[in-house]
């Protein structure tokens, strides 16, 4: 019995519900939620090791064996993401503890973040497509709440867009599920995969797979990212850091899972479409990142570029490319949370989000400046930071595969990421110091600690790639050999 498998989702939910009863105790709530996410990270780390020794593990809810019941399945890919997202959530929560106003803390902020984490972890772990839909909804409902917490006009405007686009895409998701269930008669991922392999991927099934592609592209911000920059740049700092780090990654995870486990028989159609969408995302995201003068919008467009980059790996779909994408996925969760936290801190300190309003921050806040510098290098893919290995693997896979257009766009986008962040660095940190040492807003004690933790993490992932490679290689192997996953779920029914 692998009951521990449900804990990364169950534990945040229980703690979140308990916190509802402790509404008035802001700081206690914060400490409890940080501790619970840290514990969740510990559990995932233990699970990661169990998967290495025992292979893929699964938990049948209520003892109902697949394909009849709902189940959670853990392979290296999903557990790596659960581990990273738990760590990033814990760090973002500690930023909230230090910086957020008391008013916000008592408005169910912490329970909602925990529910969001539960939805994210559940989406990574579930082995059932309808359950994936439910976990998506848990995550989305929490994100609606987080997006509207606060009272600015802009937040309300962006929230209406965000909620309506997500309701439409959830409806599409249901339609796709209904089509799939009507065609193959099951929603258990492994069972669907087995049946699709048996009957062959007919044109009808390919069409259904494209409906799924549209749904997950909307969630991941692949080509259909028009809603993303606005809604990621309007809420509280911590919230946009969490969104930037976690939400799109769930969509990307779903794309990887669906198109490597189930619909991988017609790559000349599906993977070509993914490749084209990734290319257009890279172009659009890069244009956005260099066009804006609002530093939060620039950060949000950087999320879009990263989505395009990771999906280049899926479009190429060789072992090296998939490995590169997994490295990049892990790196991007850490780096995007860091970027949004730093940008948010800059806005809090200078009182504006326009680049023109900031100058010479380096003199006042050197630590903040150098943290931003490291983030910039990491996102651009400079060794030995965490972005490097993913970019190298995807690029070399693109060369081996002869996908020169994707290669060119991917590398160009990296340069433009560097350029867009260098612009922030040059304009905001260098230049004439506007605010003198005496008049500067004091940096609240400890605000930079969570950011520094993430900086250490991005350096650590970069230097510790050797240690990580064991897990990432296993994850890529499982993704490329769907039979391993199917066997683990359906093969060993006791």
């Amino acid at each position: 019995m692998n009951n521990i498998l449900v804990l990364p989702m169950l534990f945040p939910i229980i703690v979140g519900v308990v916190l509802i009863f402790l509404r008035t105790y802001g700081r206690i709530q914060a400490w409890i939620s940080i501790a619970s996410m840290a514990l969740t990270a510990g559990i995932s780390f233990y699970l990661l090791h169990t998967v290495q020794t025992d292979g893929i593990i699964r938990l049948d809810f209520g003892g109902w064996e697949p394909p009849f019941g709902i189940l959670f399945v853990a392979d290296s890919f999903s557990i790596l993401l659960v581990l990273t997202s738990s760590i990033v959530t814990a760090i973002c929560l500690s930023y909230a503890l230090i910086s957020t106003s008391k008013e916000l803390q008592t408005m169910y902020f912490y329970p909602t973040v925990l529910f969001l984490a539960a939805g994210v972890n559940g989406s990574f772990l579930t082995g059932d497509l309808f359950n994936l839909f439910v976990c998506f909804e848990v995550m989305l409902l929490s994100s609606y709440v987080l997006l509207t917490l606060g009272n600015s006009k802009r937040q309300l405007r962006e929230a209406i867009k965000y909620v309506s686009i997500n309701i439409v895409s959830s409806w599409f998701f249901l339609v796709a599920l209904a089509f799939l269930y009507g065609t193959v008669g099951t929603l258990n991922m492994a069972h669907v995969a087995e049946r699709v392999a048996e009957v062959g991927q007919t044109p009808l099934l390919t069409t259904i797979s494209i409906v799924f592609l549209v749904v997950f592209s909307l969630k991941a911000g692949l080509l259909l990212y028009f809603w993303l920059p606005g809604s990621y740049s309007s809420p509280q700092i911590v919230t946009s850091a969490l969104f930037g780090a976690l939400l799109t990654k769930v969509g990307i995870y779903a794309l990887f899972r669906i198109f490597s486990l189930i619909f991988y028989h017609q790559p000349e159609i599906t993977h070509t479409i993914i490749g084209i969408m990734a290319a257009l995302t890279l172009i659009g995201g890069s244009l956005g990142a260099i066009a804006f003068n609002d530093i939060r919008s620039i950060a949000a467009y950087n999320v879009v570029i990263a989505v395009g980059f990771m999906l280049v790996g899926l479009a190429i779909a060789t072992p090296a490319a998939i490995e590169g994408s997994i490295y990049y996925l892990i790196h991007d969760m850490v780096a995007k949370a860091l970027l949004f936290l730093l940008v948010g801190t800059m806005i809090t300190l200078s009182g504006t989000s326009k680049m023109a309003g900031m100058s010479g921050l380096m003199k006042n806040y050197p630590l903040l400046g150098w943290s931003f510098f490291i983030t910039m290098l990491s996102l651009a893919g400079i060794p030995p930071l965490s972005g490097f290995i993913g970019k190298v693997l995807i690029s070399s896979a693109a060369i081996d595969n002869g996908s020169y257009v994707l290669l060119t766009l991917a590398l160009l986008s990296s340069i433009l990421v560097l350029y867009s962040l260098l612009r922030i660095f040059k304009n905001c940190f260098w230049g004439e110091t506007i605010v003198s040492k005496e008049e500067q807003l004091p940096l609240r004690r400890g605000v930079l600690l969570p950011c520094l933790a993430l900086v250490v993490l991005t350096i650590g992932i970069g230097l510790g790639t050797e240690g990580l490679s064991l897990y990432v290689m296993d994850a890529a192997e499982t993704l490329l050999n769907p039979d391993m996953y199917i066997d683990a779920v359906l093969g060993t029914i006791q």
Binding site: M1, N3, V6, L10, I13, I14, V17, V18, I20, F21, L59, D60, F61, G62, G63
Partner: protein
């Protein structure tokens, strides 16, 4: 409001009783027949909403001093607890069991642990529905 709604008030007194009975019946018949915690909870919540509509919310809130936010949280906690409990007896998460007992009045009765889970769902649904209606009505 000074509308003379004596008919509405009198009728809803009787109707609320019927709705509550029906809701509890649906809830109990849940795991073998059509019904269950979600539907039963919705029906029971509709009885509460009817009370809030026909009387003003102060009167009902005085008669029913329940914080519906906390009620729904408690419901989730109860449902989760019933899912966790089997984990301590070597079963899978959410595993259920049932047994037959001789009760004084009912005779041989089937008692199932799934009822606890359903009760949690029912409380959550009641809490959420009433909370939504109250939040809308209390808005200035």
């Amino acid at each position: 409001m000074n509308i003379n709604d004596v008919i509405l008030k009198t009728v809803s007194k009787a109707v609320v009783l019927i709705i509550l009975t029906f809701g509890i019946y649906l809830f109990l018949s849940g795991h073998n027949q059509p019904g269950g915690g979600f539907i039963g909870g919705l029906v029971i919540a509709s009885a509460f909403v009817l009370m809030f509509l026909s009387y003003d919310s102060e009167t009902v809130s005085d008669a029913l001093p329940i914080d519906f936010k906390k009620l729904s949280a408690f419901g989730v906690l109860l449902a989760m607890a019933s899912g966790i409990a089997p984990m301590f007896f070597g079963g899978a998460f959410l595993a259920q069991s049932f047994g037959y007992f001789d009760l004084p009045i009912f005779g041989k009765t089937e008692l199932a642990t799934v009822t606890i889970f359903e009760a949690g769902i029912a409380l959550t649904v009641i809490g959420v529905v009433v909370n939504i209606i109250l939040s809308i009505s209390e808005d200035e």
